[in-house]
């Protein structure tokens, strides 16, 4: 697969309970991530069974998906905080290579 002209970076996706999302966002920001995307009310099947998606009047009781892209040099610092956090939460984390066209947006 060709990625001519693109810059390699790392994408980190975290799915956590809405109540834990602010802690993850704070970690993203304090470890140098310049931005993130969040999707609230995500549903799915996991280790703890099925999770309901969007609830009409409760945005805290559902799962939230948070996505950020960071330069490879920031990955370890971010993971150092996320690992213990997720070890004691019902959340999951996916780390993968990604390619971006505007690297200056992410550094």
């Amino acid at each position: 697969m060709s990625h001519d002209g693109l810059t390699k970076m790392t994408k980190i996706e975290v799915v956590v309970a809405g109540a834990d999302a602010s802690a993850v966002r704070e970690l993203f920001q304090t470890t140098g991530a310049t931005g993130f995307t969040s999707l609230s009310g995500v549903s799915g099947l996991g280790h703890h069974g099925y999770h309901q998606g969007r609830l009409l009047f409760n945005e805290q009781a559902t799962l939230e998906l948070l996505i950020t892209v960071v330069p490879d040099t920031s990955v370890e610092a971010l993971l150092a905080g996320l690992r213990p956090l997720l070890a004691e939460s019902s959340g999951v984390m996916f780390v993968s290579d990604t390619y971006v066209s505007r690297p200056e947006y992410f550094t």
């Binding site: 703890h48 099925y50 609830l55 009047f57 409760n58 805290q60 009781a61 905080g81 996320l82 956090l85």
Partner: protein, 852 residues
């Protein structure tokens, strides 16, 4: 260089994670002006209730239930019976109860008799003691006190919301940076400490890590140590946690960095070397099973005649009910004594369905106080009432006529995205301008008066200029609270006359949003047919004087605000022709002659004000007048009912006298019991009004209307259980924990409260920010008005539907599975109640009923 940087950033990141995990023992607390009832142990709801109490005892030294002396006193008063205790033992310790009788002194004594003797006469368990202490607490308590005093000082200065005469310099830089700049100049600290504070690192994480290192806290101990510091002043820490989620320039890392720096630096100055031995406090004495067995034998009249073998047999039995779990048995029994009769009353044949069209329908908030109003109104005339969360499904940012900052009027579980403005009604522009000008003049005068009081020289001038009037005014406010309140209200009315207004409901919501809201609201409350000509959406608020906890008495579903704007918005939407067309297309036909009206119930005065009369067509005015008169009559009767339990209220007053009394009470600036709020709340009932109509539930139940038949897919029930029930459970837990441990979870006595920074209160002039409810919201002296019980949810819906909802919602699995909330259900009226248990649905019966 980059590797060093990465390691350093990783350490900071790791510390932040540790702080986050340590802070799970804290539930964020809101500023007092929008007091939100929360479960102080909300962060532990993923644990069984009993385990969470054990954690709270260890970390905070907090009591999680009433103590055994209080339960035994309740037993002597008949509030708990042997049958209640039998049922509780059967549910909690069935194996112990199923053991063989023991022969004692030639008589076969049943396990029940022995366990009851232990519960009633055994040596009480020792009070909980905080076992996670900071180093300074252990070796130099005066240093721990200084750290706390510094924490209070800097947090109060930084978080001040306009009360302080001088703002903390550098607040815009954030808490850590501002404190780092100012702390070295604090002359209350030793010179050497001040000098070392000049070299603090730029990042709070680095300062915290260095301090932890100096204190000898290793990485494996770090989280517990951070937790010990958070639990030392849990009120401040919990409020900082809330602030950190609202980008207020302070977070728990900077809060802890400040505390840890002070502790490490002050301990360096202390005579006690850091290497010195920690003083171990002796563990509190817990009676052994052998001692308990002897107590039981004595209680059974066997005295010293019990043999060693018999003592061993008793001890073996008692091992099945550890002393630490006895209060949970008591709590279960205490709850059963309320729950069993309640469910029996709810099992009575339902009221016959109404065949005529009601004169009006009143949709009240689920708030337990609405139950009294609904019951009294139904007794007054041919009215029908319903219950729904008081924000009426419209989550709004509201800006009133005067402009200013918008208020979030919705449950805190939601982030409101629709902004609603109040505008002058057609032709009322001039009057509206007079009102706004009058309000600004009154606010300016009040602000000027307070500013003058706080100034350096102005108080002398103020005393000269206004002192002659202040004394008589204060006397009038105190001695003639009622007439003074009436007079002041009239003067306010004259200065800022009421002006008819409208809300921008059409502009604030898209057509699709309005249609969705209307459909959801009506389906959730089961009001899809049988509409009256007048349907009143009745929000609520509370008018009290000189009461920092005023917001605690307002509507929780409206974020600790008054609910009128939500009711007005919802009524406007439901009167919209386009919305009604949409509803009709989905099978909800609102008759053309049905009109929605907004109202607001003042829970301190029992007055219901019908709002926006200028928007109501003239054809309804006569009916509206009749309804208004009946609401006054119902309110007066409710006042008489409430006077029976309000301290200092007249004895057996007529409804008129009672109404006058509660009105005077609400304007009395010295009144510490303006109303009882939600004290006594114990149940959350989901079902049609036919389940509860005619029953006096004593304002102790949240009532949510629901018709299972119009909710085949369970969407409405899922919304009720995941939002209104959650809010009700927070309220219930706030009252529960504030009662069982008023020192750790409550707010102590109002009489020594000082408002600090307009964010909360201190008991006295220093110490922790008081996190919960004041004692005067829970008890009258030693007499508990709030009986601390966990919430009982009663749902009339198919159990399989409830199971499916619980299965896909973790929040419900935790609440029901971990015993934070009990759940009873039945599908149809007349069927027996079922109890939700880990083993599935079980009959809700007492052991005596099972035996029959």
């Amino acid at each position: 260089m980059s590797a060093t940087l990465a390691v350093s950033r990783g350490e900071r990141s790791r510390l932040r994670a540790d702080v986050t995990l340590a802070a799970r023992i804290l539930a964020p607390t809101w500023p007092i002006e929008t007091f939100i009832a929360i479960n102080p142990l909300g962060g532990l709801e993923d644990q069984p209730f009993a385990d969470a109490l054990a954690t709270a005892a260890e970390v905070f030294g907090a009591r999680g239930t009433l103590d055994e002396a209080a339960f035994r006193s309740a037993y002597r008063a008949g509030r708990v019976t042997d049958a209640d205790l039998h049922g509780a033992l059967a549910r909690r310790h069935p194996q112990a109860l199923a053991m063989q009788p023991i022969t004692l002194g030639g008589r076969a004594v049943t396990p029940l008799e022995l366990l009851l003797a232990d519960l009633l006469h055994g040596e009480p368990a020792p009070p909980p003691r905080r076992s996670c202490a900071t180093l300074s607490e252990q070796i130099a308590p005066q240093v721990a006190g200084t750290v706390d005093a510094q924490t209070t000082k800097w947090c109060a200065a930084f978080l001040d919301a306009g009360q302080a005469g001088w703002a903390m310099p550098g607040r815009e830089l954030g808490f850590y940076a501002a404190w780092r700049d100012l702390a070295p100049r604090d002359r209350s600290l030793p010179r050497a400490v001040r000098e070392r504070l000049q070299t603090l690192p730029e990042h709070p994480e680095d300062a915290a890590l260095a301090a932890l290192d100096a204190l000898g806290v290793h990485e494996g101990e770090r989280r517990d140590y951070l937790q010990a510091h958070l639990a030392r002043l849990p009120g401040w820490a919990a409020h900082v946690r809330w602030r950190s989620e609202h980008r207020a320039g302070i977070d728990l890392v900077s809060y802890l960095a400040q505390r840890l720096v002070y502790e490490s630096e002050l301990l360096r100055e202390h005579e006690t070397a850091l290497a010195g031995a920690r003083v171990e406090q002796p563990a509190p004495r817990t009676p052994s099973v052998g001692e308990r067995a002897l107590d039981v034998a004595r209680a059974l009249g066997l005295g010293e005649h019990v043999s060693a073998a018999e003592t061993t047999d008793i001890a073996q039995l008692l091992e099945g009910v550890p002393v630490s779990r006895r209060t949970l048995v008591w709590l279960d029994a205490y709850e059963s004594h309320h729950r069993d009769p309640l469910l029996q009353r709810l099992a009575l044949p339902p009221a016959p369905a109404r065949t005529d069209r009601p004169a009006a329908q009143l949709v009240c908030c689920i708030d337990a106080r609405s139950e009294g109003l609904r019951r009294q109104l139904e007794a007054t005339g041919p009215y029908e009432t319903l219950g729904f969360a008081g924000f009426f499904a419209v989550a709004i940012q509201f800006r009133d006529l005067a402009g200013g900052a918008a208020s979030a009027l919705c449950p805190v579980l939601l982030d409101p995205r629709n902004e609603i403005h109040e505008l002058p009604a057609g032709g009322a522009q001039e009057l509206a301008e007079r009102r706004v000008a009058g309000q600004r003049a009154l606010a300016g005068a009040q602000e000027g008066f307070h500013a003058a009081k706080d100034d350096l020289a102005a108080p002398f001038v103020l005393a000269e200029a206004a002192g002659w009037a202040a004394g008589p005014l204060a006397a009038a406010k105190t001695l003639l609270a009622g007439p003074y309140g009436t007079l002041r209200g009239r003067l306010h009315e004259r200065a800022a006359p009421r002006a008819p207004t409208t809300l921008t409901a059409e502009q604030g919501f898209t057509a699709d949003e309005r249609a969705l809201f209307a459909q959801v609201a009506l389906t959730m409350m089961g009001l899809t047919q049988g509409f009256a000509r007048l349907v009143v959406l009745c929000g609520h608020g509370s008018t009290t004087e000189n009461n920092p906890y005023e917001a605690a008495l307002d509507c929780g579903a409206c974020g600790g605000n008054r609910g009128a704007p939500n009711a007005r918005t919802a009524a406007a939407i439901l009167n919209g022709a386009d919305v009604r067309e949409h509803l009709a297309a989905r099978g909800i036909s609102i008759p053309q002659d049905a009109w929605f009206v907004a109202g607001e119930h003042d829970t301190a005065t029992d007055r219901v004000t019908l709002l926006d009369r200028h928007l109501v067509p003239a054809a309804y005015h006569a009916e509206l007048d009749t309804l208004a008169a009946d609401l006054i009559e119902a309110g007066d009767r409710l006042s008489a009912e409430r006077c029976a339990v309000l301290p200092g209220a007249p004895d057996r007053p007529s409804p008129r006298q009672a109404a006058r009394h509660v009105r005077a009470r609400s304007t009395d600036w010295a009144q510490v019991f303006p109303e009882w709020g939600l004290a006594g709340n114990a149940a959350f009932i989901v079902g049609p009004r036919s389940m509860t109509i005619g029953l006096d539930l004593q304002r102790r139940a949240f009532l949510h209307s629901y018709e299972a038949a119009v909710d085949a897919d369970g969407t409405a029930l899922e919304t009720i259980l995941t939002a209104p029930l959650v809010v009700a459970q927070w309220i219930n837990c706030q009252y529960y924990f504030s009662t069982v441990d008023p020192v750790v979870f409550g707010a102590g006595s109002k009489t020594i409260h000082n408002v600090v920074g307009a964010i909360g209160v201190l008991a006295g002039h220093a110490g922790d920010l008081q996190p919960g409810l004041p004692w005067q919201a829970l008890a009258d002296g030693e007499r508990l008005v709030h009986e601390p019980m966990r919430l009982l949810a009663v749902v009339q819906a198919p159990p399989a539907r409830i199971d499916a909802i619980v299965e896909r919602n973790t929040v419900l699995q935790q609440l029901f599975g971990n015993e934070w909330v009990a759940l009873a259900a039945r599908e149809h009226p007349g069927e027996a109640w079922l109890r939700h248990t880990p083993r599935g649905w079980q009959p809700w019966t007492t052991p005596q009923e099972s035996a029959r």
